[in-house]
Amino acid sequence: MRLSSSKLLHALGLTCVIVFSLFPFYWMIAASFKTQNDILASPPVWLFAPTLDNYRQVFSDSKVFGAVGNSLLIASATTALAVLLGAPAAYALARFEFRGKADLWFWFISNRMMSPIVLALPVYLLALQTGLLDTHLVLILVYLTFNLPIVVWICTDQFKSIPPDLEQAARLDGADQFTIFRKIYLPLGAPGIAVSAIFSFIFSWNELLYALVLTRRNVQTAPVVATSFMSGYELPWGKIMATGTVIVLPVTIFALIVSRHMVRGLTMGATK
């Protein structure tokens, strides 16, 4: 009996967590199908006649598509670069001893300790002077500095969990350092790489502060456009929520695709 009651408690706890994290999504999606009156109704209406008006407005607004395109380009490029540069760095940190290793490691982590807004003004001035303002490149570079530490951090841990014997077996088999990285560490580190890629993508996709500060008209990202609807005296909640729903879709799809690499026990069978 004790077992089943503890299981019940466990299930209850899980349900709470799931409701807590999914309710905002439900609210956003539900609101995107409501009229402005239904949205502002108090007490809230749970049953309503759904409307597609909000989506019609969003899809007729060319800004939204352009912004989603910008966001896709920037988030993909950032994620690709972060993994491309971060994974080899993580391999080095996980497996080699070299001078300054501890300092380098701390430097990577310390990049995450700084509150982003502290750097907003200096980065803006830098972008202004280098003529990078309102380009894709400036956001890719800025996001890269924030994402690289996450990739390095997660992947280093992941690579450390790969038995060193595998690397030595591969060395004896005649594999060079790069081949070992490519054929042993990348496939076996896939879960960590996938997680860090998702983090990196979501971060770049959601980022609002730097996107607001560093872009004007050309390179507005999706969150910037969504918030730009909040102007004047009117808050078109339905349109904002519909835009939000459209924005969340790509990142959800990306996470679902990548998450199939997030399997545990990939190194099972390697040893013992």
Binding site: A175, L188, G269, A270
Partner: protein, 362 residues
């Protein structure tokens, strides 16, 4: 001609000296076993032969070529790891083919070599499986298969059987012996298990604390241990040691004193007696399997503490004047704890060591 030559090989990890100058050589086709207690440096030594550990001093050559600072892959050695170290994301076939692919062999050649190795090790039905779908014994075979396909100059084994259960261990031990006979390959094998060492080796290198204690055939080590350490390490159950005092040493005869001896004395013929003088301390080594209960001239008077029935044989734990003595006797003698035993031994089977533990030779 010497095939594998180690010359005063040393290894330091920082301040700590792990291998303190090891020299030995192996002939082509020889099966050499490094044996010793944990921490004796045997695995480190093996990994140095493989090139996985840097050498801090000394020189090493394989087939006449100096390989002291050579890359692991260029030494043409292969290694079976204690952990097997199979690539978990590759099939059995790909695990075995990996080294050949690295060597850029043609696909047909890779296939035929892998299939041949799989046939020898009887793992043909497993070729498409991933390591996680294999049992411990099967993984072991794949690990061995991976080293066979490369046709190396030397096979290195790092405690390959220690993860297997007792039955499988015996079975794989026999298979490794067969493999050695069939391939005629040079093998260096590390173990802490003296039974594996005795049964597999052409020659055994006994290591302790980073130094060689003795090198010899299994029989030499058993019959003529260089010191008390080797005497105690080789043979199971362990050799019994009794610290005695020389009472009389003249010509070819020695009389030793210890309260466990019948009458307090042990008299034995010993050609090297001239090197000893009355009052010297010596250690008498007696193997449990050499002691007998029904001797005409018993030498030890012991009292039984406990007996273990092994089925066909019985192991007796006894004490004689404070010294623990183990006996291994055939059958099941009807004895009970507290019984007084008078135990004999053939004088040829008595080992003598000096105060420093070094063997006294006739």
């Amino acid at each position: 001609m010497t095939f594998l030559q180690l010359n005063d090989i040393r290894k330091n990890f920082g301040e700590v000296s792990v291998i303190k100058g090891v020299s030995f050589s192996a002939e082509r086709g020889e099966f050499v076993v490094f044996v010793g207690p944990s921490g004796c440096g045997k695995s480190t030594l093996l990994r140095m032969i493989a090139g996985l550990e840097d050498v801090s001093g000394g020189a090493m050559s394989i087939d006449g070529k100096d390989v002291t600072y050579e890359e692991p892959a260029k030494r043409e050695v292969s290694m079976v790891f204690q952990s097997y170290a199979l690539y978990p994301h590759m099939s059995v076939f790909e695990n075995m083919a990996f080294g050949l692919r690295m060597a850029k062999l043609p696909e047909a050649e890779i296939k035929s070599r892998v299939l041949e190795a799989a046939r020898i090790l009887q793992i043909e039905p497993l070729l498409e499986r991933k390591p996680r779908a294999l049992s411990g014994g099967q993984r072991q075979r794949v690990a061995i298969g991976r080293s066979i396909v490369r046709n190396p100059k030397i096979f290195l084994f790092d405690e390959p059987l220690s993860n297997l259960d007792a039955d499988l261990r015996t079975q794989m031990r026999v298979e490794i012996a067969k493999l050695h006979r069939n391939l005629g390959a040079t093998m260096v094998y590390v173990t802490h298990d003296q039974v594996e060492a005795m049964t597999l080796a052409d020659r055994i290198v006994v290591l302790r604390g980073g130094l060689v204690e003795q090198i010899g055939t299994p029989t030499e080590l058993y019959d003529r241990p260089a010191n008390t350490f080797v005497g105690g390490f080789i043979g199971s159950p362990k050799m019994n040691f009794i610290s005695a005092t020389v009472e009389q040493a003249d010509g070819a005869r020695l009389v030793l004193n210890h309260a466990a001896f019948v009458g307090g004395h042990l008299q034995l013929p010993f050609a090297g007696a001239a090197a000893l003088k009355p009052g010297d301390k010596v250690t008498v080594g007696l193997r449990p399997e050499h002691l007998s209960l029904d001797a005409e001239n018993p030498v030890l008077s012991l009292s039984l503490d406990i007996s273990e029935n092994l089925g066909g044989a019985t192991q007796l734990y006894t004490t004689g004047a404070g010294e623990a003595v183990t006996l291994l006797v055939a059958g099941r003698p009807p004895l009970k704890p507290g019984d007084k035993l008078r135990v004999g031994i053939n004088a040829d089977h008595i080992y003598l060591f000096d105060a420093q533990g070094l063997a006294l030779r006739a």
